[in-house]
């Protein structure tokens, strides 16, 4: 089902919003983009992209398992991602080689479990595709509500830990000497990252979460070294690429994951080019 673009902005927006599924997709996309943009900024700052990617992949068996058991998919995503974050948080951050080995091992096992759950559930092919690469249809009112509550809680928690988190991320030694509980703050952040990854997975699919979790933040840090401006810019870019991606996906036969990722990548390229010429 593909709508035709009229190139009349008002008319196109009316077409875009005529079906409830699209309104839900835009609501979910906006919530997820704000959360991913803000939390992704700190993830990039802390070089924890690998952990973020793994947390997103851990959501895959969660959602597949939930579908197989007939439970709400969102709960599967959030449950598994947060549990995965707790596991990763238990590995001491100081030994980074050990940490990435543990994360990689957990990631492989999570994918394998997801594959098992998908094959146990006989709705096989379409389900797998949507989980891995996202879908524009099928986001329910309940799912939007769950995303909203989880996102609001995650952002509130991020605001509470923002300053010690920034301190611990750029200079752990001095932060520790100033009384920041570096380990605790890092573990709390992983939980928030789990929430962000779980939410983003439900829009972009588990394999493409980085379109919203990494690309906007990576773009932002190329444009500003001011942390407050960086977070804001990261959120704005994430929301923009989500709206563009969902809008274009609606009018085109190609999937949402492709469009959101493509727009995010385009922003990243523009920012990289700008930095090369400006500096």
């Amino acid at each position: 089902m593909t709508a035709h673009l009229t190139w009349n902005l008002v008319e196109d927006i009316r077409l875009l919003l005529q079906f409830p599924f699209m309104v839900n997709a835009l609501r979910a996309g906006t919530i997820v983009a704000v959360v991913a943009g803000a939390i992704g900024y700190f993830m990039v700052l802390r070089r924890e992209s690998f952990a973020g990617h793994t947390l997103a992949l851990i959501g895959f068996p969660g959602a597949a398992g939930a579908t197989w058991l007939g439970v709400n998919e969102s709960l599967g995503f959030f449950g598994f991602c947060v549990a995965g974050a707790l596991v990763i948080a238990m590995v001491p951050a100081g030994r980074s080689s050990e940490r990435s080995a543990v994360i990689g091992t957990v990631q492989a096992f999570a994918l394998a479990c997801g594959l098992l759950f998908v094959s146990l559930y006989h709705g096989y092919l379409t389900g797998l595709n949507d989980l891995l690469f996202g879908t524009i249809i099928g986001i329910s009112e309940t799912q939007v509500l769950i995303l909203l509550v989880a996102g609001a809680l995650a952002l509130a928690a991020l605001a509470v830990i923002a300053r010690p988190l920034l301190f611990a991320s750029v200079d752990a030694d001095v932060a520790r000497a100033r009384g920041v509980r570096v380990r605790l703050v890092g573990a709390l952040f992983l939980l928030l990252l789990g929430v962000a990854a779980a939410g983003t997975s439900q829009v972009t699919g588990t394999l493409l979460v980085f379109a919203l979790l990494v690309a906007p933040a990576a773009t932002a840090v190329r444009l500003t070294a001011n942390p407050l401006a960086g977070v804001t810019l990261s959120v704005v870019i994430a929301v923009l690429v989500t709206w563009l991606g969902e809008g274009v996906a609606y009018f085109s036969p190609y999937p949402i994951g492709f469009w959101v990722t493509t727009f995010a990548f385009a922003f990243f390229l523009l920012a990289s080019g700008y930095r090369r010429f400006a500096c």
């Binding site: 750029v170 200079d171 001095v174």
Partner: protein, 265 residues
Amino acid sequence: MTTVVETRDASVRRNGRTVWSGVDVTVHAGEFVAVLGPNGVGKSTFLQVVLGLIEPASGDVRVLGEAPGQANRRIGYLPQRHAFDAGTPVRGVDIVRLGWDGDRWGLPIPLRGAKSRAAKERVDEVVEMVGASAYAHRPIGQLSGGEQQRLLIAQALVRRPDLLLLDEPLDSLDVTNQASVSALIQQVCRSQGVAVLLVAHDVNPILPYLDRVLYLAHGGAVMGTPEEVITADTLTMLYGTPIDVLRDRTGRLVVVGQPDTHEHH
């Protein structure tokens, strides 16, 4: 004169081994004191005892009139460190600002209120004091080692501490920057009335700026003015290896033969 740090017959044991013992130290307000000694003798450990991070095995330690760890909000501490990664997307002023309120939970609400303005003014003031205004708004990772060190000193100073603990702040700097950062620390010490304990493994770059030195060695510790302590006899005794102290043509002391001066370069 107010006493900022005072130890009486203090000793520290780590992993069943005595690191140092019989250390008697008195540091007065506004004094610039270097903590010197061979590698592995426990110079950084001394700072950690002052911060209350390590308990002395025996003896008495008082810091700013209280037990160690009780007055840390009045202490600026700069741990031994490596330079910031070139890609760190944070400005010098942000690093200094983290020293002001980076350890606090929550956000400063409203973001542009009177409190934030006071913080910003104080940050600008210390950045100016360390002479970093020209580059404080550039990303910290793109600055030279000397520029980063100045901003880190500003960060340690931003809360108007009474005591500054600097662990090897000259370690990664070239000779010119070692001299200018030492001069800066002395000037801060004089103008702000803050006492400085600076750990160094090479005495020469800081020697002209010091008030007193604390030499730690496995046998014990000696504290006094550079003229009293930095003599061939005292150093030879502390290090257990022949060391000479010369005077250059301007009358400056130069220590020759310090076993660890060039060890890890």
